[in-house]
Amino acid sequence: MTTPYELVIGIETHVELATASKMFCGCKARWFGAPPNTLVCPVCLGLPGALPVPNRKAIELAITAGLALHCETPEHTKFDRKNYLYPDLPKGYQISQYDLPLSVNGWLELASGKRVRIRRAHLEEDTGTLKHGEDAGRRYTLVDFNRSGVPLLEIVSEPDMSSIEEAETYVRELRDILRAAHVSEMRLEEGAGRFDVNVSIRFSEDGTTVWPPQSEIKNLNSYQALREATAFEAARLWDDWRAGGELRTRKGKITVGWSPDRRRTYLQRSKEEVEDYRYFPEPDLVSLEPSRETVESLRAGLPEMPSERKARFVSKYGLSEYDARILVTETALADFYEAAVAALPAHPKPIANWMTGELLRRMREENVDPSGIRFAPDALAALVRLVESGKVSGASAKAILVEMWQTGGDPEAIVNTKGLLQVSDESAIAAAVDAVLAENPKAVADYRAGKPRALGALVGPVMKLMGGKVDPAVVNRLLAERIAASVS
């Protein structure tokens, strides 16, 4: 898509950390789907007298995320209070980090090689959730505090993205990294990852560069919303400028929301209503000074990042960029792959093909994650070994995989019980070939008339006669040989 303007995009990503308990209390952090207000205590309800105690694991995960994004971890950080009133915020302030965040000055390298700079990543607590309803014409709002106090990491990028595709790539790769580092599952469908997109347009007018103030699109929770909302808002800014609208005189940014139903943004806060959060250091907590030992041990514990692993899969196993990318998106899937390769080091590519093809298709169809695969990586390796050694045909192998998928059975056992061992007795195959040739004189004539592709139509019937337990290449060869023999 070409536009008469350049896009400038920066993204704030809110990520729920994968801790067992909440940020400042012992309540369970896995709130999604729990009955309302069942995961609460005096702390996350903001009862009088309750005090926060920081969750060590959350701090470690936040530092880990920063390290995975090549950030520095300052020696002196602290928590601050961000003050505003809203019913889902029980204390009337959110404990967050203002001027001394846990991580600063990092970067994330996109597949294209472009680096998106990470300005900062800070730790805070999530709010509760509101549910609006109506009863006998009276509108009401209910508050659920299960999510209140869940640890959130806010990762702020510099405005380094210049297309919607790049923005989407950034958030997808960010998600891959955070999942690989076990920082967050970031299940978008459960609200565990939310994006605020800062978008502005830059263009040339009368020979000078014009860069009007941005819009911040709040709280996008899917890739689709991110794409559509950013595209809409950029186009709206351009149209507004061209029509001589408010953008021509506006000095500060505005905040907008995204309505997925109407597929348009709507104004939430204009620049005049910029909120003063009156940040000040949280007096209920002491300053947070991550020891260098802690930081270094977290750094040492960082797993290989998806982009590094992908590059290794390409160079070491000879996989295509595409296949490698699919495998590394999910750490558990890549682990499964490498375990299978370890069992059968001679055939990394066929293993990848089976995984990205048949296996992944079934996983998607049945919405199963790698932990739900009933057979072990060794079993997949055994299956590939059977195929590559010519003991079973590709067609049989698919049937074996189906059986493995459903029962978790061992491939060699399945081959034996189902009699799927490839027929290697060429005289048996030759008999089937002769029978098919006799039934298809036209195809034979076509082949002789110089249409080699006519032979292909005969392979299927032979395979069928043989119950699929033959190598199609052998059938092909025998067909050609028998036709040639019948002439001479």
Partner: protein, 490 residues
């Protein structure tokens, strides 16, 4: 028994000799609380107290939880400032906005006292959210000083001070953010002690100014204060601002005397405008007593004393403005519905908070606002660091400081209600101690115009032991702690 014991030690001895039961003692305390004419009580927890007393009597009879002999505080009736959360017992913080609020959990200090078998008789009146120095800012009416009914008891823990001074409880808990234990203790003629910041868990105590608040006891004697402190001191994992120190054996310090101790006398504490001559005389006499007991008095300078008030009235309202934001009518407490959310907030908070609370929230919000934050809050924090550093320097040369607790004796009810600055000035000797996070104790040191005067002993952080040493030596050397208001003595 008919006479109310004069100290925890005396009551504990009587209980051990089985001359009276915990239940009898509780009934006596309940009766005295019901007869209170000073408006010191917001709630008398009769059933709660009787239940606690009965189980203590079981304990004395050898059927206690886990056996063993009951601790000193078992069966001792006490009163709790109504800003300290008590499970199942109304906790209002002296505010309409929390009227009828029953916490689902107890403050750590209450849990600890419960575990010793102390018997909580009820909740005491206070300035709303502890904001005040006279207990006239309570939403439930002013408290009167038992020494003279037309005088204030001091504040904000006025009800707790009166409960002990008038012989309605053997000790009481208060909170001290800028002097709210020591100043009313001085004005009511009892012992009041504010621990080092981080010594006593704040968990379950309704927050006023988080970096300044600390819970402490009101008692009849210095020894009683040490007994209560030994129970409430010590790390609680639920308060992240605490320092992990072993609990002090404070009673061991009491008999050590002051011989060889160097006591600092900050000259700025005696040159404050508005200092009453009678107060100064009583305190000077007290210094003489300590010198006769063997202490060396050293004049020291705390040149930043004047700035304490300014620093305090930035930091304290700033923190309070955030701490009180949670009272929005959504989850608990008062709610006055309006046509929309903003109006519900306005009406709820407009009706729920009194004028002093509103004044401080406006002050605090202003101090934290964009464009003012650096000039007020940040600067105040810098001066706070300087004040702390000045105390640190002084404590390199002295073991404790001895000062007046308040520049005046109990003033007339209504005298300063409409003059907040004059009211704030009454805390000029106590609030720097909170700013620096130090421990301080006020002990009775005689009368001026027939009203009690308090001597304040300040020690370095976590040096409560030397503070208790000085206070106990002074108490042994004088009869002032025995003085009681006439109606109580009668």
């Amino acid at each position: 028994m008919s006479a109310f014991p004069r100290s925890i030690r005396e009551a504990a001895a009587v209980l051990r000799r089985r001359e009276t039961s915990a239940l009898e003692l509780a009934e006596l305390a309940i009766a005295r609380a019901r007869a209170d004419e000073h408006n010191a009580r917001l709630h008398i927890a009769e059933d709660h107290a009787r239940a606690q007393a009965r189980s203590v009597d079981e304990w004395f009879a050898g059927r206690g939880p886990g056996g063993g002999s009951p601790p000193t505080l078992a069966g001792i009736p006490w009163a709790c400032k109504d800003i300290i959360g008590t499970k199942g017992v109304v906790t209002t913080a002296g505010s309409r906005i929390l009227e009828g609020y029953v916490p689902p959990y107890s403050a750590t200090v209450v849990e600890r006292l419960d575990a010793t078998g102390a018997v909580m008789i009820g909740k005491t009146n206070l300035d709303e959210f502890a904001m005040g120095s006279s207990t006239e800012n309570s939403a439930f009416g002013a408290v009167k000083n038992p020494w003279r009914a037309d005088r204030v008891p001091g504040g904000s823990s006025g009800g707790s001070a009166v409960a002990v001074a008038a012989g309605e409880a053997l000790f009481a808990l208060g909170t001290d953010t800028g002097g709210s234990i020591r100043q009313p203790a001085a004005l009511c003629g009892v012992v009041g002690m504010k621990p080092t910041y981080g010594r006593v868990p704040r968990w379950g105590v309704v927050a006023f100014a988080s970096s300044l608040d600390q819970v402490g006891p009101f008692t009849n004697t210095v020894e009683d204060a040490a007994i209560v402190c030994e129970t409430i001191f010590g790390k609680d994992e639920r308060d992240a601002t605490m320092v992990d120190l072993p609990g002090d054996q404070l009673r061991r310090e009491l008999d050590k005397g002051v011989k060889g101790l160097r006591l600092g006398v900050p000259k700025e504490y005696f040159s404050v405008k508005g200092m009453e001559r009678g107060v100064e005389k009583a305190v000077r006499d007290a210094l003489g007593v300590l010198e006769r007991e063997g202490a060396t008095l050293v004049e020291v300078s705390l040149s930043l004393t004047d700035h304490g008030l300014a620093v305090y009235y930035i930091i304290q309202p700033a923190e309070a403005s955030a701490n009180l934001a949670r009272y929005d009518g959504v989850r608990y407490g008062l709610r006055v519905d309006g046509p929309d959310l903003l109006e519900t907030y306005r009406r709820t908070r407009g009706k729920g908070f009194g004028p002093e609370v509103k004044r401080r929230m406006i002050l605090g919000t202003y101090a934290l606002s964009a464009g003012y934050y650096d000039a007020y809050y940040v600067k105040a924090q810098k001066v706070r660091t300087l004040i702390k550093a000045e105390y640190d320097r002084v404590f390199e040369t002295v073991d404790a400081l001895v000062t007046p607790t308040s520049p005046t004796v109990a003033f007339a009810l209504g005298a300063k209600v409409n003059d907040p600055l004059a009211m704030y000035l009454n805390d000029v000797f106590t609030l720097p101690v909170n700013i620096a996070g130090l421990p301080g104790i006020s002990v009775p040191c005689g009368l001026s115009e027939g009203l009690p005067v308090g001597l304040q002993v300040i020690a370095n952080s976590y040096q409560e032991s030397s503070m208790f040493r000085v206070a106990a030596a002074y108490e042994r050397a004088t009869p002032h702690h025995l003085a009681r208001p006439e109606q109580v003595a009668a």
